[in-house]
């Protein structure tokens, strides 16, 4: 851990903020860029690296320190940004060909807030096209690779951000989570990934997939690091009417040091019911850790949540329905790719046929179907009703326990190509993560050790709406208890 880039984020920032310390933002950013240059070819984590912009930003941080101005709590810390978040002047692809060479004219609120806190954006990371997928195999620019085994996926859709943090290329990254797209890749790559309560972080500048489910959040190597980034992201934003302030005591910014003693940890029996379909090792691993939680003074509470087993069905109606509407804007007129056609109708249909990949087309069709006359009542309206009931079931469950603890994913990272032939099997691997999005809950994945092949497994903590601070507190306590948090140093990667 002699390289400053491997220090906890709080220490990196403290040393950069200390004018007497020789460590500069420029040195951290150069170290990150050097690691990206050395390892990105093997990992395909970054779609675009921005060395000039990053060095200029780092120099501004260093100039602030020299002038006695405080650059903020993330001073000089290199940050990777998922390429569905707008950064002014940098390309924005969403992992798709349809945006062409489009460059946004504004910066997403979440990214702007991280930069205002001193973080330095070093590049844009790979993702499943428009964040639709669980492996990054749906990226138009090729899949990212898992640093633990480059023949395996890093998860998705924020797989590039997860791989970049896990391989030590950056200490922090931003992702977006619509059905598990932060937590699942965090689990597959052995790092921490946090999905805030819906509305806690602005979605302005995040390219919309399913607007009622999308949420931006942090990746990091430890809960404390993730929390430090989350603290600067959150808060209402005039540019996103679904962002709001929370009255729940304690923001993510204020850790309340606490142990597990007296904590009521809920266990949902239904979160293991699909194991026969999608695998069991993640579930078994977390079940095996329960004795440790009991020993630390936590109280295990069995909670019935039958609706959770049906969350996949609800999700794969609602998310595609919203996506089919959101992606209507990619029509060959305003952005990027445009097909040659002699009529406007032909222009739309041909541009979209050429610009979108197979998974995006599949979801647009599913969503269009679920909203179409004769089917909207049977699919979309019923799914919305079931979604509301799911939220109520969670609220009742949280009267009996403080948090729910489960595996993040049924299995460890799968092999490239292993699930691409069966879309439904890929969808069903999201079984443990999508419910938090449907109910708007805060949820985090932390490392929970390794399977027999040495691949990471994740443990998920979910809390009531607004209880992001509690989720972080419990995650920190579990992290200490389990002491499994590690990441792959670059020389081990690839």
């Amino acid at each position: 851990m002699s390289d400053p880039l491997d220090l906890p984020v709080a220490e990196q920032a403290a040393r950069v903020r200390d004018a007497a310390d020789p460590l500069t933002a420029r040195a951290l950013v150069d170290a990150s860029l050097a690691r990206i240059a050395a390892h990105n070819e093997a990992l395909n984590a970054f779609l675009h690296v921005a060395p000039e912009r990053a060095r200029a930003a780092a120099d501004r941080v260093d100039a602030d320190v020299a002038a006695g101005r405080d650059p903020g709590p993330l001073a000089g810390v290199p940050l990777a940004v998922k390429d569905n978040l707008e950064v002014e002047g940098l390309p924005l692809t969403c992992g798709s060909r349809i945006l062409g060479t489009w460059k946004p004219l504004r910066t997403a609120t979440s990214v702007a807030r991280a930069e205002a806190a001193g973080a330095v954006v070093v590049g844009k990371t790979n993702l499943d096209e428009f964040a639709m997928g669980s492996s990054t195999e749906n990226s138009a620019f090729g899949p990212s690779r898992n640093p633990y085994d480059v023949e395996r996926v890093p998860g998705g859709s924020s797989g590039g951000s997860a791989a970049a943090v896990a391989a030590g290329l950056v200490p922090l990254a931003l992702g977006s989570d619509t059905g598990g797209s932060i937590r699942q890749p965090a689990a597959f790559c052995g790092i921490v990934g946090f999905k805030p309560t819906y509305g806690r972080v602005s979605r302005s500048g995040l390219v919309a997939f399913a607007s009622s489910l999308d949420q931006v959040g942090p990746f990091a190597r430890s809960v404390a690091d993730a929390r430090r980034l989350q603290a600067v992201l959150e808060g209402p934003d005039p540019l996103d009417a679904t962002s709001r302030a929370f009255v729940t005591p304690g923001s993510a910014a204020t850790p309340v040091p606490r142990g597990l003693e007296g904590l009521r940890i809920g266990r949902v029996a239904e979160m293991t019911t699909e194991r026969r379909v999608v695998g069991t090792e993640g579930v078994d691993r977390v079940e095996g850790l329960r004795a440790q939680l009991d020993a630390a003074g936590a109280t295990a509470v069995d909670v019935a949540l039958p609706a959770i087993a049906e969350a996949i069905a609800i999700y794969y109606v609602i998310a595609p329905a919203e996506a089919s509407s959101n992606l209507a804007r990619f029509d060959g007129v305003r952005y990027g790719h445009r097909a040659e056609a002699d009529s406007l109708e032909r222009l739309y249909a041909k541009t979209r046929a050429e610009g979108f990949g197979a998974e995006v087309k599949r979801r647009i069709l599913l969503g269009t179907f679920a909203l179409s006359a004769g089917y909207a009542d049977a699919f979309y309206k019923r799914a919305r009703g079931a979604q509301v009931a799911l939220g109520q079931a969670f609220a009742e469950a949280f009267e009996r326990c403080d948090v729910l603890v489960s595996a993040t994913t049924p299995t460890a990272a799968f092999r490239l190509g292993e699930k691409t032939g069966d879309p439904l099997a890929m969808y069903r691997s999201d079984v443990l993560t999508v419910a938090a999005n449907l109910a708007g809950l805060p949820a985090v994945s932390i490392p929970a050790g390794f399977n027999e092949q040495g691949l990471p497994l994740g443990l998920q903590v979910q809390g009531p709406v607004g209880a992001d601070a509690l989720v972080f507190d419990v995650a920190e306590a579990l992290e200490r208890q389990l002491a499994t948090c590690r990441y792959v140093a670059p020389e081990e990667a690839a």
Partner: protein, 110 residues
Amino acid sequence: MEVDERLVRHVAGLARLDLTDDEVSRLVPQMASILAYVERVAALPGAHETEQPADLDAQAIDLDALRPDEPGTPLDLLGLIRQAPAGDGAFYVVPRFLGEDEAPLEGDPS
């Protein structure tokens, strides 16, 4: 749920999405299996509730979160159009969409 080529082509038309014959052939069984799976939503608790609880509605969108109605600086509109795949500097350019038989708009140079 009966999914056939006709349905897939119909939905693709609604979605303004051209599909090749090969894509249609692949999508028919995929859509059939996915829709057969998600069809179960109709039988779930709450699926037939049409009234949404007031607190969940309020949770979705907080009207107090709407920003003050004050003029601000918009994005650089000409900068947006400059990046369009076809523009004339001030407007997006699209293929002619009025039929041959229709009268040209007043002032239309054509």
